[in-house]
């Protein structure tokens, strides 16, 4: 390969040029830096893409933003009927509907973020082949734009808590961090899938299937307390197990302190995010050619 010769002579680096600085455009090889600084410089673009996604999502729909609520609410109803009423599933001493809904709210955010971000690069091929910007912006904005939907269904969740007369404990304050964990998990998996999706369109079919299985692999319809230790802690290897149990603990005051699960989940989620980000950056150089 002739390029090996020339690559060796020119260090693999593309630096962001500011006024007066020289930027070198050269082939990059192997693992490259995440260039988070550059990502920060493009924060306005991130904002506009997010804003576009939110603005456009429910355009020309009859029910509009109600769709954000319909999905988790109906899943909750189905779960309550089949698992709660018919299956007599244990629910840590909490009314089954709110038990499952408190889990479905972060889950829906995770699952939508995952599928949106996984398809985001392919969906933005017109941008990627015409303009330069840090490609990480695309899946990131896809996950972030789900925050609005999350907020809407969270309001419904609060309404339900009021209806069932559940008063949140001080643990409520942990929610932002638990939400962050859901965000990290969603983005982490989304980065892997979106980069893979550019080259292998198999991923598109995989996503639907994976999220379906993942829903049942997460303690949403059932409590993780059904598992004995140490299996229960190991359950945290599924990052959403930690998020879901954390949400229930913080909001509904289930007395199954999920500290260990959350610790495991956080570790896994952060590892997935970091590896995903590096993998993404590594594949980024061919996006415009392949997408």
């Amino acid at each position: 390969m002739s390029s090996v010769v020339s690559n060796a002579a020119y260090p693999a680096r593309i630096a962001r040029a500011t006024v007066g600085q020289t930027m070198r455009i050269a082939p990059s090889r192997g693992w490259v830096s995440l260039k988070l600084g550059e990502l920060w410089e493009y924060r306005e673009l991130l904002y506009f893409l997010m804003w576009r996604d939110i603005k456009v999502r429910y355009k020309q729909t009859v029910l509009g933003a109600a769709w954000a609520i319909i999905q988790p609410v109906f899943t909750m109803i189905v779960f309550s009927l089949f698992f709660g009423q018919l299956g007599k599933m244990p629910s840590d001493g909490i009314p089954y509907p709110i038990f499952s809904f408190a889990a479905l709210v972060p889950w829906t955010f995770f699952a939508n973020g995952l599928s949106q971000s996984s398809n985001s690069l392919v969906g933005s091929s017109n941008l990627i082949t015409k303009v330069y910007f840090p490609r990480l912006v695309v899946p990131l904005s896809a996950v972030l734009s789900g925050v609005v939907d999350f907020a809407l269904s969270f309001v419904v969740l609060l309404g339900m808590m009021f209806f069932f007369g559940i008063v949140p404990t001080v643990n409520f304050l942990w929610l932002p961090l638990l939400f962050l964990l859901a965000f990290i998990a969603s983005l982490g998996v989304g980065l892997w899938f979106s980069a893979l999706n550019v080259e292998f369109r198999d991923v598109r079919y995989l996503i639907t299937f994976v999220t379906q299985l993942w829903l049942f692999a997460t303690p949403i319809a059932y409590p993780s307390s059904m598992l004995p230790e140490p299996w229960r802690t190991l359950y945290g290897l599924n990052p959403m197990a930690g998020v879901v149990e954390g949400f229930r603990w913080a909001l509904l005051g289930t007395n199954t302190a999920p500290g260990a699960i959350i610790a495991v989940s956080s570790t896994v989620a952060v590892i997935v995010l970091i590896t995903g980000a590096f993998y993404f950056r590594r594949m980024e150089r061919t996006f415009a050619d392949v997408v």
């Binding site: 390969m1 002739s2 390029s3 010769v5 020339s6 690559n7 020119y10 593309i14 040029a17 500011t18 006024v19 007066g20 600085q21 020289t22 930027m23 070198r24 455009i25 050269a26 082939p27 990059s28 306005e44 673009l45 904002y47 506009f48 893409l49 804003w51 576009r52 603005k55 456009v56 355009k59 020309q60 017109n126 941008l127 990627i128 082949t129 015409k130 303009v131 330069y132 910007f133 550019v198 080259e199 292998f200 369109r201 198999d202 991923v203 150089r285 061919t286 415009a288 050619d289 392949v290």
Partner: protein
Amino acid sequence: MSETIISVHNLGKRYRIGAQQPLYYRTLRDQLNDKALAPFRIARHLLVRNGKNSDNGNGNGHRSVNGNHTRASRRAETIWALKDVSFDVSRGEVIGVVGRNGAGKSTLLKILSRITEPTQGYADITGRIASLLEVGTGFHPELTGRENIFLNGSILGMRRAEIQRKFDEIVEFAEIEKFIDTAVKYYSSGMYTRLAFSVAAHLEPEILLVDEVLAVGDAAFQKKCLGKMGDVAREGRTVLFVSHNMAAVQRLCAHSLWIEEGRIKAYGNTNAIVDDYLSTSTATAPADRWVNLDHANRVGSGGVRFKALKYSVPDAETDTAMSSEPLEVSLEVTSDCDRTVGSVAMTICDHHGTRLINADTLSFGKSVRLTEGSNNLRLTLDKLHLNPGTYMLGLWIADPIAGPFDYIDAACRIEVCKPPQNGIGQTPDDEGLIPCSFHLTAG
């Protein structure tokens, strides 16, 4: 005198040809196969390594055989879209980039704007760079004009404050004040393009890379865009301008870069390059300019030959031919003796190669007299019934009995534009195949 702002060294870009076929993405299965076989490949590679350590030096084009067969055959399916391209651009220069379709012009811009990485070589760029490879990148049909200005602006690299500051100017330039809060999906294609170009025209980078985006809109708006480009150039910004519109290149760029098959064919004075380039008859020739036909692809016995042609619109000052206006084509013809010929014809084909017009003097039944040496002929179409677009002019001179003396099926490419309209005329989205003149009366 001036500092170098873009410095390109041996830049090359290789594509896998498979990547351009419809089913371009490899499936996971292929990749897994590939990975599963990797250990064998490595083992084999190690085994044969001592045997074949020959040509790994500068293996461009010819494939180096190391180890696995599929790897070797995959490498053979690659092309260099760009190869060994080196040039420097000084601050404030406006460089035209010319070359036929697929020559590598767009690849060059894509590398310089960091959309895609080079395979080899490097480029040093000093200053803020913006690229305009398409107008309206990222426009969303559901959003309003106002919203799209902000979205598109930020995609092109403008700051929000910058967009806000220039907002009124952008709207005014695009001439869409009334529709600014209408979703762009309800815009006519002309309004859409005007808005898109207007946003782009208000970019203020130190280096601007522009690809063939001026070939949009009606003639009047094109003129306005070219004017804007001229302003950009005068403000001392550095521009790389890809175009097939030679008139625009000549007007805007003192120097030009001619790329042919991925390599630089010439770099220097625009007029000289455009003359050479036009004689290869692949470019769009501007009106009122002689196109030399010496190097054109031709067939025929050669007793009579077309030397040059020029087209123009009578009584109009324009770079292009005009839809529904007359078209006058001047021909310089040499003959090796005094003779009469039965047929002088001009053909016009569309980009599919379909012959739309064949203006052949044979139909008059009168022969044309030629004297030895140079002759000037003028062929006028009373009205050019062609929609805006680019077309290929072909020339034919023949004797009905002796056969063709000279036949050039692609003498020069012309561009047909819409004549400027009085009032707010709009082109319907589904235009008819042929334009016609018509009027409407009451009763």
